[in-house]
């Protein structure tokens, strides 16, 4: 009797654990988004056609146009190390604070490999600010996300 009860408790625990693991597994499967540098995305582009991607890079100098009347921001993200760039359209949302040429940017959206274009659903800018923590006492670049 006692053993049986114990078994029941263990069984209930296992069911709960499996349920949660399943939730996480399905959740990750459905929502996980792969992260790229612009260079990696351009090289690997065809595989990611029509899929959600995240790209982390810099706002290409002079590439940004902001069409206020239609609420549309277009620009290019360039790689931190190579010359590769990816185009981005961001619609129906406010232009984030600190959106400046050369600034760091993080983009999430659907990638269209034929046009090398991301239709962004999320855009975060990082702003240059004073660094702390490092040994030097002089201001250098730091990255910090400010707005979504």
């Amino acid at each position: 009797m006692r053993k049986q009860r114990r078994l029941k408790v263990i069984a209930a625990g296992i069911i709960l654990l499996c349920g949660m693991a399943l939730l996480v597994f399905v959740g990750i499967k459905r929502t996980s988004v792969r992260h790229f540098t612009p260079a990696a995305l351009v090289t690997d582009g065809n595989k990611m056609n029509n899929q959600q991607v995240q790209v982390d890079g810099l706002i290409a100098e002079g590439s940004a146009t902001w069409d206020a009347a239609n609420f549309k921001l277009t620009f290019a993200v360039c790689d931190r190390e190579t010359a590769a760039t990816v185009n981005v359209i961001y619609k129906d949302r406010l232009k984030p604070d600190n959106f400046t040429d050369g600034g760091s940017v993080f983009v999430e959206g659907k990638y269209d490999a034929t046009q090398n274009l991301i239709v962004a659903s999320k855009l975060m800018t990082k702003c240059a600010s004073k660094y702390e923590g490092a040994e030097s006492a002089t201001p250098t670049d730091e990255t910090s996300y400010i707005s979504e």
């Binding site: 006692r2 009860r5 114990r6 029941k8 408790v9 209930a12 625990g13 709960l16 654990l17 349920g19 949660m20 939730l23 996480v24 959740g27 990750i28 459905r30 929502t31 996980s32 988004v33 792969r34 992260h35 995240q54 206020a68 009347a69 239609n70 609420f71 129906d92 949302r93 406010l94 232009k95 604070d97 600190n98 993080f106 999430e108 999320k122 975060m124 702003c127 240059a128 600010s129 004073k130 660094y131 702390e132 923590g133 490092a134 040994e135 006492a137 201001p139 730091e142 990255t143 910090s144 996300y145 400010i146 707005s147 979504e148």
Partner: protein, 673 residues
């Protein structure tokens, strides 16, 4: 000079920290009261020394001492006094010092709370607890000395007598009252969790693993819970009002880092009740509070190490490694002690039925811990995914929203079922008396919601809304009935009025009924989250002067613009006429602030306008305003309708109220030991 005194105090506190640990260990081992007393005094000395250091830094802020590196980084001459002081925790090294100072306050309070009891009974449990507190303090002391790589001493001056003309100033986004108080509230909550953890370690070390350590640290746990609840909410409230994206919770890594210890602390508050009542789960409670404490450090590790990028503007630094090292080392220490005390940790009782209050508590604990692990997994997914297949991925907000719903609804159901199910085993009588009506009324409410939502053809989140309303109603009926039955009984026994009876009921058992009030707050919170997350509306449009847009029942017309100069910023904005269902209800003036001088140079921030319609909010945020706004320039407008968002804040207020009722109960002494 002051800064040098502060620095000296920090270095001396290394010695007092070592002294405390050494003498307490030695004194407890050899039962030498003088050595123990000396150890206690060293803990007090650490408190005094760190207070001097903290005071010296505040003095540097107030007197605008721009030869101090930290002052230059977070303050400026023009910064209002309040923000000069809150600059103390504006960045990393200062916040480490502040954290340390709070820890030393906790140590001193533990001595003060226990000194009479200790003197009268020669009881050393609280002295055992001082050792882990002193160890954690020493860890932080070493970080702020600036001797380890990656952190500098917050009291350090620039080399060679250099001096900056003015400070860089604090980020303007942080210069609001709720942001001034959000971080310290969280710190206080996290640090308060150190005390029950220390008592758990003390219990293991002294071999007294009964309920006494739990009872003697109970108020700390509850205090931590209340403060964390407030702190997390302040953060959400700040984000809502200041960041201009219309939401209050985005499952950002830093938010998760503050939420996970709260979840574990809540689990612990529940599971200790079974140990007190049924003498079960001794080991589990120790593990749970250890985990909760480690998660407060893990939060720092996640947010400060730069391994996960976050909305929060923290610097990346090397201190993550130290935290990880400390977490691993201290966990290993606890596990060692557990193995050492293994035989004493066995439970006297076992679960008797799957349908009993004990099981409800167990399920509650599994769900809380499960939720924590799910959130941890999601937060660390960028690292985990890279480790699994070399592809770095991350999960968006949607992952968390989807994954927490089912465990969240189960927990909601338990907030009603837990308090009314009988101990040991549910009986037919218990079920009929306590469950029948709440279930019937809950199901009816769910059905009505279904019908209503179907009628207005609202299909988003239909199933979850129905379940949420049904479970919420069940809980409210179950708990109100508990209050009603108890109050009526008291009133009858004391021959007094019902309200007096209710008052007596709560007074006599503050912990239990305080807990039930928290449960009611939880239900209110759920309803608020359901409305504001499930049914918000968002419209974005570029508008010219005189043009209008619509959001649900609201119409906005842009009718004017304005510009004002302030000491350190310029405010530009537009004026909207707002109408609800065609009827004029007033004007709203969203704006943008352009700060001339900040930690980040010039900065432009959104100053959204919020108008409350009862518990529903209408919210407008603006893009940057063109100079030709009066003559046809386009302004970008983002407008939100957030139904029931006010209910979120009310729910939290009720939870805090319940927490205060519960903490008012005098700590009892247990007989075991």
């Amino acid at each position: 000079m002051t800064a040098e005194i502060g620095q000296a105090a920090i270095f001396l506190s290394v010695l007092s920290g070592l002294w405390a640990i050494g003498f307490l260990c030695f004194g407890l081992r050899t039962r030498n009261q003088n050595a123990i007393q000396s150890g206690r005094n060293a803990v007090l000395a650490t408190f005094v020394l760190v207070s001097i250091a903290t005071g010296a830094l505040i003095y540097g802020f107030v007197t605008d001492d721009f030869s101090m590196r930290y002052v230059v980084e977070v303050s400026s001459a023009a910064q209002p006094l309040l923000y000069k002081i809150t600059a103390l925790w504006g960045r990393m090294s200062g916040s480490l010092l502040f954290w340390l100072w709070l820890l030393t306050v906790a140590g001193a309070v533990v001595i003060w709370q226990n000194h009479r009891h200790t003197k009268e009974t020669n009881d050393t449990l609280s002295d055992y607890a001082l050792i882990p507190i002193a160890v954690v303090q020493l860890f932080f002391i070493i970080l702020v000395t600036g001797l380890v790589e990656g952190v500098y001493n917050p009291l350090a001056r620039f080399p060679n007598g250099q001096m900056a003309p003015d400070g860089a100033g604090m980020n303007p986004l942080l210069q609001t009252p709720s942001m001034a108080f959000h971080p310290p509230t969280l710190y206080i909550g996290w640090i308060a969790l150190t005390v029950p953890f220390a008592f758990a370690v003390g219990a293991l070390a002294s071999g007294r693993v009964g309920s006494e350590w739990i009872l003697r640290s109970r108020r700390w746990t509850l205090f931590s819970w209340i403060v964390l609840t407030i702190g997390i909410t302040l953060g959400g409230n700040w984000a809502y009002r200041e960041l201009g994206w219309g939401g209050y919770w985005a499952w950002d890594p830093v938010e998760n880092a503050s939420f996970m210890p709260w979840l574990l602390g809540t689990a612990y508050l529940h599971s200790v009740m079974i140990q007190e009542k049924r003498n079960m789960f001794k080991l589990w409670n120790i593990l749970l509070i250890t985990l909760a404490f480690q998660f407060t450090l893990l939060g720092t590790f996640i947010t400060r190490s730069g391994i996960i990028t976050s909305v929060h503007a923290f610097a990346q630094s090397d201190i993550g490694g130290y935290f990880l090292g400390f977490i691993l080392a201290s966990t290993a220490g606890v596990i060692g002690l557990i193995i050492y005390r293994w035989r004493r940790l066995k439970s006297a009782n076992r679960l008797e039925s799957l349908l009993s209050r004990e099981s409800a508590f167990v399920l509650n604990n599994w769900l809380f811990v499960g939720l924590t692990l799910i959130i941890l997994w999601g937060t660390l997914w960028p690292i985990i995914s890279e480790a699994i297949n070399g592809e770095k991925s991350s999960v968006p907000e949607a992952f968390f929203n989807q994954v927490v719903i089912i465990p969240g609804l189960l927990l909601l159901f338990l907030t009603g079922a837990g308090p009314i199910i009988s101990w040991k085993k549910i009986t037919v009588n218990n079920f009929q008396r306590m469950f029948l009506w709440p279930l019937v009324i809950g199901l009816a409410a769910g059905a009505l919601t279904w019908g209503f939502l179907a009628l207005i053809k609202e299909e988003t989140s239909l199933l979850y809304s129905v379940l949420c309303v049904a479970a919420s109603t069940f809980v409210i009926v179950a708990i109100v009935a508990e209050f009603y039955r108890g109050a009526k009984l008291r009133a009858k026994r004391q021959e007094t009025s019902f309200l007096n009876g209710l008052n007596l009921l709560i007074q006599r058992n503050k912990r239990r009924y305080g807990g039930y009030i928290i449960h009611i707050g939880i239900v209110i919170l759920y309803i608020g989250i359901m409305g504001s997350k499930g049914y918000f509306l968002l419209e974005s449009k570029g508008l010219r002067m005189g043009e209008s847009m619509e959001v649900g029942q609201f119409q906005l017309t842009m009718k004017d613009s304005f510009e004002k100069e302030f000491a350190n910023y310029r405010r530009t904005g537009v004026v909207f006429d707002v109408a609800k269902n065609g009827k004029q209800v007033g004007t709203m003036e969203p704006a943008r602030h352009f700060y001339y001088k900040t930690g980040q140079g010039e900065q432009d921030t959104i100053e959204s306008a919020i108008r409350h319609f009862g518990v529903n909010d209408f919210y407008i945020a603006l893009g940057s305003i063109p100079p030709d706004v009066k003559t046809g320039g386009v302004v970008n407008v983002q407008a939100y309708y957030n139904p029931l968002i006010g209910v979120v804040w009310i729910g939290v207020a009720v939870m805090v109220l319940g927490g205060i009722v519960a903490i008012a109960e005098k700590p009892q002494r247990s007989k075991d030991a």
